[in-house]
Subunit: 275 residues, 4 copies
């Protein structure tokens, strides 16, 4: 369906993750291994935080990522300590910028891989559940954007895990109302520019893949011959739909029905329970 | 804001109206004279009926019309007895194909010039008024598309003038509820492939310009030296936001608050009253 | 690298070949089986002849074919007795309309799958060999377009097989001059609107795949249960980079180093010898 | 035809010049006052230098600048001490990224406003005059890009004014050979990331407009109430096709047939004489 990536840590050029690894996100746009489709060519987006403004920048395009020159340019010149990137494989909705991730609201970003099953039937009910003051900001036609606005409606800015749990509960209830057995499939990353929350969940308990990078100190000791790994801070974390390179011990799978929190200080990994 | 054109009559190549006249629709994309803006460069669209299928074809693009090569190619090779064309100047919503006109539902097409004032405030109420079974077909984020789905909700397929009058009534009521003095500004064309209805109306009684071509028999007698005018049938009609060429007596203005019906047999021009 | 298709015969909607077969050209844009790459997502094009004009129409886009709505619309509404379609996988040159096939000159169309090895080194010499009066029509940066203008320079309009043989000779000589062992890899289709010539050749004698449909009479007798096959004329032929559907006996491989001529009357299949 | 802007000085967000002034470059894309056309909607580009890499970044798009969201995002987040921006009005060549300015070679950037008269007739001769090793880097089909590669061929990297003077001499000679009275019309900016050279010249001696900002110290004294003007360094300079805002005494016209050099230390303004 889609692939995404979240980075938090020492400022790096975007290309370090988007292009340089053997199985970089751009490589995954043509040759995804763990996804439902091998091609993710229906647009892409990257959102990054910089030091000179609070609101993150968002660059989105409907071109396939693999040959997009503007993305190549940006990735080679923009440095950031925190960014999300996403490559899209449409599940039916139009290929247009407003359907590309990340979605942004204020200083928040949101990326999603997965889908709401039978979305056309649920769409109106879900849209009505969005807060009136937020409704007008919906620009695209995807399930992913609607999930974001539902989470915002339910308090994302104050309690991200709680809001996402309530959002999933709401979607599942709406789905069951229409007789949809397994309404939701998702991995999601969201951030306010300081912390990153990453969720892995599906109604059927067989969620799309999600990995996070192992502790940087351990990795450095295991691989003293890799100079780039020596430079980034201990706090640096990468979360990905599928590993960017084959490096034994470097990636841990996020367990079914759980979420992780990456921030300065101790990270967390907790169970996820829809409410 | 926008410019549009509707043609009904003897089959002609689209280029006869889109490119060849001195002040063709494509010329209007760069040099509109009667509009609020001289440039209409935020995408375009053309919908046409052909003999081999009932549903009209729709070609839409986010590029400016003036240099679009695919439009030039199509216009030089596609013949049609009934088509609508539209060039867009966005009033704020995203430049994307799903925001380009004409909008299509079944065998119906719809183009709009104008706007719903304070649309972001009204958007949710108007969206809720769309029939549940139709809601999921809304793909874009414009006021124009929403007006179409409201008209469909209110019976466009059975009684077009009645449905549009009710739609306008509904929008004005919603607008007044929010204290908007003049909620709606519009010229609209809609067609089922047989008849074309064209509406000119605005809440403030100062509507955007709209013209229709005079009786072809009269025109032929007035201008015996113009061979192309001799060829098209008596029934042929063109409706436009602004005249395609300066030809004295060739264009009549559609009066304020009225609508016209073009079809085989006698045409009609009637007052328009929101309900 | 790329995939292409040529059709000549009873007028049909483009969608009959572009979308409806199990392994249609659009399916091949995501799931090519016989090509070097499975994804052909760097643009597409279709050129078709119609009855109302001599010059063929060309519709080209940089979007991937699989989700392009305008292509879907056209394919469902445009009928033609002779058309070429092409999906592109760039071998390095920019993704832009002027690099999409088919290329057109006058009433001629041209599509190519393959490449000139080490093209950047040969490009200038090849460009200089193009006739002065033709040089200015080159709009893109691909090897494919340059091969077309070289063939035109060498008499394509008078003797297509002879011109293509000379063009290949010229490219191979230029390549050998730079020490390139196998300068050219190609399957090519070209047409003047009446006949279609299809070439399969490579300097190394291991050319990309190319197939043509078997005699329609034979196919009809073999498959009496397939109504669409009963309708098209005996003269109808399809030439494709890879078969559109698995139908035993329906496709013949074009032999190495040979070319076919499809036209009204007897078709031909002959050896191809660079001069 | 086109409009461009060059900035050199204290690092600023691109938006300070691209969006914020009353008559910013983006405003000029819809409402140019001094150009041949009021609309410059056939694509745009911006090239900027940053501290982390030597090669400048280039972002180019075929969309009109006025509604391009990615440009808006970049301009609001990217800071640079030296950048060129360009909005395009095509004089006939295709609207594609490789025809958008700035053009880049190594660490050099190049923007052009104007045209080579009768370019299709001169194109081949000019292309042949490009150094063999550079020819293959030509990606687009514009006169502007060809002028850049001719200047590079003639020593732009060692002696920019001399190389541009020779380039103009070469173009004029080629033009006169074909009986073209006034072969060239141009304002050009080029930079290596340290200095900016800006040229104003035309064969007929009636060149397109070009302005440079007056001495910053003088401006600050004249306008003590404008805080942003107080912040930028004394060395800061802006060169523009037309002034960004009406501020008496802030802009000087570059004289006919002359060029300016902006760099750390003393700037220069000298006569320009084709060789």
């Amino acid at each position: 369906m889609c692939r995404w990536l979240a980075y938090s840590g020492s400022p790096i050029l975007l290309e370090e993750l988007l292009y340089k690894p053997d199985h970089s996100l751009i490589d995954q746009s043509l040759h995804a291994r763990l996804g439902v489709e091998t091609t993710n060519g229906d647009g892409f987006g990257v959102g990054w935080y910089s030091t000179n403004t609070e609101t993150p920048a968002v660059f989105r395009s409907i071109e396939p990522a693999w040959n997009d020159r503007n993305l190549r340019e940006l990735a080679g010149h923009v440095e950031s300590p925190l960014f999300l990137a996403h490559i899209r494989a449409s599940t039916g909705t139009a290929v247009q910028q407003t359907n590309c991730h990340p979605f942004r609201y204020g200083c928040w970003l949101w990326v999603h891989n997965g889908l709401v099953h039978d979305f056309p039937r649920l769409k109106r009910d879900l849209a009505l559940a969005v807060d009136e003051s937020l409704y007008t900001y919906i620009e695209g036609s995807t399930d992913s954007e609607l999930l974001f606005y539902l989470a915002l409606t339910l308090g994302l800015e104050d309690d991200p895990p709680g809001a996402v749990e309530q959002m999933v509960g709401l979607v599942e209830e709406a789905g069951h109302h229409y007789g949809i057995e397994h309404p939701l499939q998702m991995t999601i990353a969201t951030t306010d520019g300081n912390s990153v929350w990453a969720f892995r969940y599906s109604s059927e308990g067989r969620s799309r893949s999600l990995y996070y990078s192992a502790d940087m100190r351990t990795i450095r000791e295991m691989y003293p011959e890799r100079p780039r790994l020596q430079e980034v801070s201990d706090e640096t974390r990468i979360i990905v739909s599928e590993p960017l390179l084959d490096l034994a011990g470097a990636w841990n799978e996020v367990p079914e029905s759980s979420y992780g929190l990456v921030r300065e200080g101790e990270d967390e990994l907790r169970p996820f329970r829809p409410r």
